[in-house]
Symmetry: C2
Subunit: 454 residues, 2 copies
């Protein structure tokens, strides 16, 4: 049976197997899910072995284990390193899911569960593509190294240690990643740019303990009010980030590139519908596409303080917390930006409160030189696998590892993403379109096949 025919014949089997993986709540940010993380790693290792990978190992790290496997049976042929992650974001708020987050459910041609799009579904596409190639060709036409981590959603804290310690073993001619989204339904895409991510946490402390807002209100600092006043000063009227020096290193994007990005087939109306807000809100003077892909941001990701329960409690909080992140673009330097943000926070701080400022993670932005021939192979495989025209896009999200690999190994990174922007990655009702899951397996199998002639 030919490669595509074989993959077509296995649709139901592939889908059922993916559902098994999605049922494991491998949430890496929460320590109570440690056993689920271990279970997911075991599952991945088992499927890699079943796909014919040799030397499959579960490598412990200081936090969550990494699964590694390789097939080096094609001497003289190119070697690729595939990277993915088996950990997922927390599913909260649970009550907003139509079907439970860890009970995969098909509705209207989509598979719903935490991790479908980000990134278990996409990892599974590669495992099944490799299995299909091996089955139909007898052996893999190229050399493949597979590395699936369990810490992507907590900033890949130990991944880099592993890469450095295994630098020789991991050497490859290209890095392949599927953790991004297609531009829109029916438009298979290769992502050539990612924003970097710095994540911060702030704690303000005013009164030494919570105080009665009647007895003390009017004379004491209220940390919630003060934090709000500080946050309000982090953007100007044009929604530019009001942190001195923040934009200093932002690289100019060529008119040609901007034109290409702005003329991609993309429906603003659909984007607005996906967002569902009464109006959009972005940096003045830039298109939505530019705001999302080539401009940096500063976003509040969480805030909490005082009484959060039912009804009324007349309290002035001692402490208030905020989680803040900045998305970075070339050539912003994460450590420099973190210093600038902290300096501005401390500058805005009134003397009536103390501030604890923590940098939870830092990550660089990345842009690929997509003239390398591997990108032509990738575009062609996507077009054949999906039967549609494929395009080059950028992405607003961050994959720190891509940047690190690019900087260290100096090899091309090819980001083939099969999610869609409205599939609620990181939110309730995350899902993956089945046509992209099945199309992805075909495209990836063809891509690995064609790499033999790179």
């Amino acid at each position: 049976m030919d490669l595509i025919g074989y993959i077509e014949s296995k649709r139901e089997e592939h889908l059922n197997e993916l559902k098994e993986l999605l049922r494991i709540p491998s949430v890496s940010t929460k320590s109570e899910h440690k056993p689920d993380i271990e279970r997911a790693a075991q599952w991945i290792a088992e499927k890699l072995r079943a796909a014919g990978m040799d030397n499959v190992e579960i490598m412990p790290t200081k936090l969550h284990p990494l699964v590694y496997g390789e097939s080096l049976q094609a001497p003289g042929k190119p070697t690729v390193l595939f990277y993915g992650h088996y950990d997922v974001q927390p599913a909260e708020p649970l009550d907003l899911w139509t079907s439970p987050a860890f009970e995969p459910t098909v509705r209207d041609g989509n598979l719903y569960a935490r991790g479908t799009a980000d990134d278990k579904g996409q990892v599974h596409i590669h495992i099944k593509a490799l299995a299909a190639l091996r089955k139909t060709a007898g052996k893999l036409p190229i050399n493949v190294k597979v590395m699936i981590e369990g810490e992507e959603e907590v900033g890949s804290v130990n991944l880099w240690e592993f890469v450095k310690a295994n630098r020789e073993r991991l050497k490859a001619d290209a890095l392949i990643v599927s953790d991004t989204a297609m531009l829109t339904k029916g438009v298979p895409s290769i992502t050539y740019g990612l924003r970097g991510l710095n994540y911060y946490q702030i704690e303000l402390t005013g009164p030494a303990q919570d105080l009665h807002s009647g007895v003390f209100g009017g004379a004491v600092p209220n940390p919630i009010t003060i934090l709000a006043e500080m946050i309000a000063k982090l953007h100007d009227r044009n929604f530019r980030i009001a942190v001195p020096g923040f934009y200093d290193d932002v690289a100019t994007v060529s008119r040609q590139e901007l034109k290409a990005l702005n003329s991609l087939p993309w429906k603003e109306k659909e984007f607005r519908r996906t967002v569902g807000a009464p109006a959009l809100n972005g940096e003045k003077g830039f298109t939505i596409r530019e705001q999302l892909w080539v401009r940096p941001t500063l976003e509040l990701n969480g805030i909490w303080g005082g009484y959060l329960g039912e009804g009324a409690k007349t309290v002035i909080a001692s402490k208030v917390h905020a989680k803040i992140s900045t998305r970075l673009v070339p050539n912003q330097e994460p450590a420099k930006i973190a210093r600038q943000v902290e300096r501005q926070i401390r500058k805005l701080l009134p003397k009536s409160v103390h501030c604890k400022f923590e940098v939870l993670s830092m990550g660089k932005p990345w842009v690929a030189p997509y003239t390398h021939p591997i990108f032509q192979k990738a575009i062609h495989s996507l077009e054949t696998g999906f039967g549609k025209r494929a395009v080059f896009i950028r992405e607003g999200g961050s994959i720190p590892f891509v940047t690190q690999m690019h900087d260290t190994f100096k090899v091309p990174c090819v980001l083939l993403g099969f999610g869609l922007p409205d599939e609620n990655a990181h939110a309730p009702d995350e899902h993956l379109a089945l046509e992209n899951y099945f199309g992805g397996i075909k495209a990836i199998a063809l891509f690995y096949e064609q790499l033999a002639t790179l």
Copy 2:
């Protein structure tokens, strides 16, 4: 045995009995504590009967029951109505209590537990004063009506219905309340002014669901940032409330009264130590005493939105919530202030978010005409019971019921408080000084005794 000697002989018995009441977690804001509320009401009824009150009844309301009892055995003598509450604030955050909130513990001359100061300890002072009078004099020298509610911490939602339905029965020559604080340790006090309280909740909704802050960040409204920008505009640089019309109806306080209040024995240094913040923060142009007692406030009591958990989640929240309260002074009108606050919130609202604005409760401010002779009896009883000079003070907190009684029955309301400002009412480690608990029983017994000659 004389009245004071009798009370002195019962110290241990009184304290042990109070501890029983404090062990019942009668938190009125949380529906899971309904059985504890019922248990506390039963306990109060039983002790009123033991103190010799007749016709003790537990009156059901739409929410939490009210305990009523009366002793009308002194024809021709004055009648007083005593009001208190047996419900308490939530104990959260539990981990900040030195000893558990509902396990009363004596340390350094203080009794620690939720409800010691607010208001179970003070209610118990009256119950034991009445019991002692009855025991030593054979019968009460005046007529007493006692009404202890279970909804004070949720805005006394059904109390007024009860009062209106029992208007004739509740008639009295004066209302006596002990739910306030003394100025400072060793200074027994009568409170003649209270601030009113309006409590609001705001919900902003931007995106229809939580969004990935990488994929969508930069082009969509972030409700947390927007709420912060709105909150920042609710005060001006001098910490005056920036709500048009807010101060229009604030009554002028005479220079004489301000002078009396500002010259009370009160140590700013101790206040600063109690607050424990790096610096104070209040409306410019007013003393701390004025900021707390005669000026209105707008305070943020709670805020929450986005990811509140451990670590990092790169999310843009769909919704953010805030709890806000305003403290009102004569002659601000609660309904008018609520309209002004809502109007300003809606004016500050950008078109990119929806806003739900709720008024959770409203309450008027109050000031007593303290020239009535009952206030002289009260001052004298306090001075005899405590052996110290007593003073007239105001309070920053609110007791909506006092205002309603004052407006309806046109009788003097005497607020004799035995708490202290640093006893953490509404916060972890709430406590009551034992010297004020024991002194209070003596002073109140003397006061009820002296009212026979009013």
